[in-house]
């Protein structure tokens, strides 16, 4: 579904290269965890996949299968990526004063429906649809009438991201440190939400610092990102190894190779 080859990227306006030849293949139904020390390029990768203008791709390709055909993701505007099923759950969800969560979700849902040739929903219809999603994620209805992420606690912001994911049903969800800043209960609720959304047709890329969330959302593949490259891949046991020994040994092995 997603094929990243030799991806190189830097922060726009600077010469600082962050991704230095990254390769990754993600297939339908898979969950990939990307781990790595601070500054390795994890968040940069997620933002580049979503099309954030602060980053500039300097080399490599990213292809996304759309209707069984590979399309160049990097040429698409951010909204086009979303309409083709790419979803980024933000590490720091943005607060938007004055726009209600319901209005935001409906605009988003309808934009994607429209792009896919499906009928848009009117506000009442959407309200009912949204309520089923809230129930599904065990979230209070008060969520929907508040301004987007404004005065939300850290946990509420992350749950709001998963609510958006539930509404938009992306084919490729990239969760950027969704576990950071979550207490044990919030982590469980958010993880359960994600697990309910797993299917054989969609894929999840989970970016994280800690193995903790991987106890809840069990990955098929674990990758270690270091200095802008994936230096080691494995199954879920790799995460446990990192939890126990840190990244030092993997980095040492990589440097010796």
């Amino acid at each position: 579904m997603l094929k990243i080859s030799d991806l190189k990227a830097k922060v726009a306006d600077t010469e600082k290269e962050i991704l230095r030849g990254l390769d990754l293949v993600v297939n339908e139904g898979e969950v990939h965890a990307i781990m790595g020390p601070n500054g390795s390029g994890k968040s940069t990768l997620s933002k580049i996949l979503a099309g954030h203008p602060d980053y500039e791709v300097t080399g490599g390709t990213v292809n996304l299968d759309v209707n069984f055909r590979a399309r160049n993701l990097l040429e698409m505007e951010p909204e086009e990526r979303a309409r083709n099923g790419v979803f980024l759950a933000y590490q720091y969800p943005v607060e938007i004063p004055g726009v209600s969560n319901a209005e935001f979700l409906r605009a988003s849902f309808n934009a994607i429906c429209k792009a896919q040739g499906a009928d848009e929903m009117d506000p009442l219809e959407f309200d009912d649809f949204l309520k089923t999603k809230l129930k599904f994620l065990d979230m209070s209805e008060s969520f929907i009438n508040r301004a987007v992420n404004v005065d939300f606690s850290g946990g509420e912001k992350k749950r709001n991201e998963i609510l958006q994911m539930a509404v938009l049903k992306p084919r490729l969800a990239i969760l950027d440190e969704t576990d950071s800043g979550l207490d044990v209960d919030s982590l469980r609720i958010v993880s359960e939400g994600v697990n309910k959304l797993r299917s054989k047709d969609n894929a999840i890329v989970l970016i994280t610092h800690y193995q903790r969330i991987l106890n809840h959302i069990v990955p098929d593949h674990v990758h270690v990102l270091y200095k802008g490259k994936i230096i080691k891949s494995g199954d879920k046991t790799l995460a446990l190894e990192i939890e126990e020994n840190g990244y030092d040994r993997i980095i040492r092995e990589h440097n010796q190779a």
Binding site: A50, H52, P78, A82, P93, V94, I96, G98, F104
Partner: protein, 462 residues
């Protein structure tokens, strides 16, 4: 510029004959205002408060004043549009080309019999034209005299200094005839909204209107003014409007205003005298005009008085929207809060000059002012000038001004959820405007504001 601006005033002089009747005091008042206007001429950009607002387009105009019964001139289309606009749950007072249209005015069908009876009992609306000629004349004279006296007392450094800066107000006074006198009886709480709806037939290109509101002690009323421009004939239409609020002690007024003039010009003055324990809460949506200049003077004259003066200006194309306000705290223990927002597209311009004066005796004043502008184009221009002059030493006052562009993080967040760029921009602009619009707490007004705002988003060059 002087010779060309005189041509507008010259063309007006021919229309003065129609304003020759009435009692002596009225002739004296009109005569003095006219003489002052002619002597000073229109202001130019050399005059401080017009530095950013050129009245050049007014110069090209040849004044053509309203005929009697201009509502008969409305086309079927215009009449239908007006009917659709009326609030069925309010008392609608219609003005066409500035002239009070009795025949079209009245309480809507959804006003209950009980409320309608209360309106008849407690609220007295008279055509200014009739009031000036009849026994109401003395009441109008007294109100205008009172206001002139209160305005005379405005602190010199904050009032308009040059006589030219008063020409627009003087012109409206020189053609004092059309409008309304609205009086609310002592202690009456008017539950029904009063909508003053100003529309244009398109036949006249120069209209004058004044509404004098007398709110007696402990009375309450919500007034809405809507100034809607028709499609302009060549050269546009210029509307002069004034609203004077004479409030009694412990009275409350909510004053909602909406100006959507499209390609026309709109010049208005709002004067409010706010005595002890009275609350004057005003909200002005200045949504479009080729040139719109909204001047407000709020004189806070009694302890415990509370003022809210909020406004939103949205401009596109080459529009110039100018908001000028003075809040004069004259006595101790009063409060005021002002939030002005402007949203600009294209090459448009927004001018804000907000003056707050706290006099030496006005201890314990709490006055807060904020100006926030959102620029959607690199060619748009904001001239914001908050001024706080404090002579007292025990007060809580602050002011601030910000100018920003759309927040790129917010834009990206919306777009990354599939929302197209243009829609995302519109959502953020809507949110920016909503803070002001929704504070009206009035569904009919908010609906109208939304409709007019959509014209702003669709208009201009993007």
């Amino acid at each position: 510029m002087t010779s060309t601006t005189q041509s507008f005033i010259d063309s007006l002089s021919k229309a003065r004959d129609a304003f020759a009747g009435g009692p002596d005091w009225l002739q004296g008042l009109r005569g003095k205002a006219w003489t002052d206007a002619v002597a000073s001429g229109l202001p130019t950009t050399r005059h401080e408060s017009f530095k950013f607002t050129s009245l050049r387009p007014l110069a090209a105009m040849e004044a053509l004043l309203a005929e009697t019964a201009p509502w008969e001139l409305l086309s079927d289309y215009q009449a239908n549009q007006l009917r659709d606009l009326l609030d069925p749950a309010a008392l609608n007072l219609i003005f066409v080309d500035g002239v009070f249209a009795h025949e079209l005015s009245g309480a809507g069908p959804e006003v209950s019999a009980e409320d309608a009876a209360a309106l008849t009992r407690q609220l007295h609306v008279e055509d200014l034209l009739n009031a000036l000629q009849g026994t109401g004349g003395q009441q109008v004279k007294a109100a205008l005299d009172r206001l002139a006296a209160a305005r005379k007392d405005l602190p010199v450094p904050l009032a308009f200094v040059a006589p030219q800066e008063h020409t627009l107000a003087n012109l409206n006074l020189a053609f004092l005839r059309d409008g309304a006198v609205i009086r609310v009886d002592r202690g009456s709480e008017i539950k029904t909204s009063v909508r003053l709806i100003h529309c244009q037939s398109g036949r006249a290109n120069t209209t004058f209107n004044r509404v004098i509101v007398l709110v007696e002690d402990s009375a309450q009323i919500q007034l809405t003014e809507c100034h809607l421009g028709t499609e302009a004939k060549q050269g546009g239409i210029v509307a002069f409007a004034a609203a004077d609020l004479h409030m009694g002690a412990n009275s409350r007024v909510r004053h909602l205003r909406l100006i959507s003039q499209q390609a026309n010009l709109h010049f208005s003055q709002v004067n409010a005298v706010v005595p002890a324990s009275a609350a004057y809460h005003a909200l002005t949506l200045n949504l479009s005009a080729r040139i719109s200049r909204q001047e407000a003077a709020v004189m806070v004259t009694g302890e415990g008085a509370d003022v809210v003066l909020d406004s939103l200006a949205t401009s596109n194309g080459d529009q110039v929207l100018d908001t000028q306000s003075i809040i004069d705290h004259r006595v101790p223990h009063t409060t005021s809060r002002q939030l002005h927002k402007s949203l600009l597209k294209d090459r448009s311009k927004s001018v804000f000059s907000g003056k707050i004066f706290v006099r030496k005796d006005a201890q314990k004043t709490a006055a807060f002012q904020q100006s926030r502008s959102l620029l959607l184009s690199n060619d748009a221009e904001v001239d914001a000038k908050p001024q706080l002059e404090i002579e007292a030493d025990d007060v809580r006052c602050s002011h601030g001004a910000t100018v920003a562009q759309l927040n790129p993080d917010e834009m990206f967040y919306l777009r990354s959820r599939g929302i197209p760029k243009a829609k995302a921009e519109a959502m953020l602009c809507d949110a920016f405007a909503a803070e002001i619009c929704q504070s009206a707490g009035d569904a009919w007004f908010e609906r109208l504001a939304k409709r007019e705002l959509e014209k702003f988003f669709a208009g201009g060059q993007g």
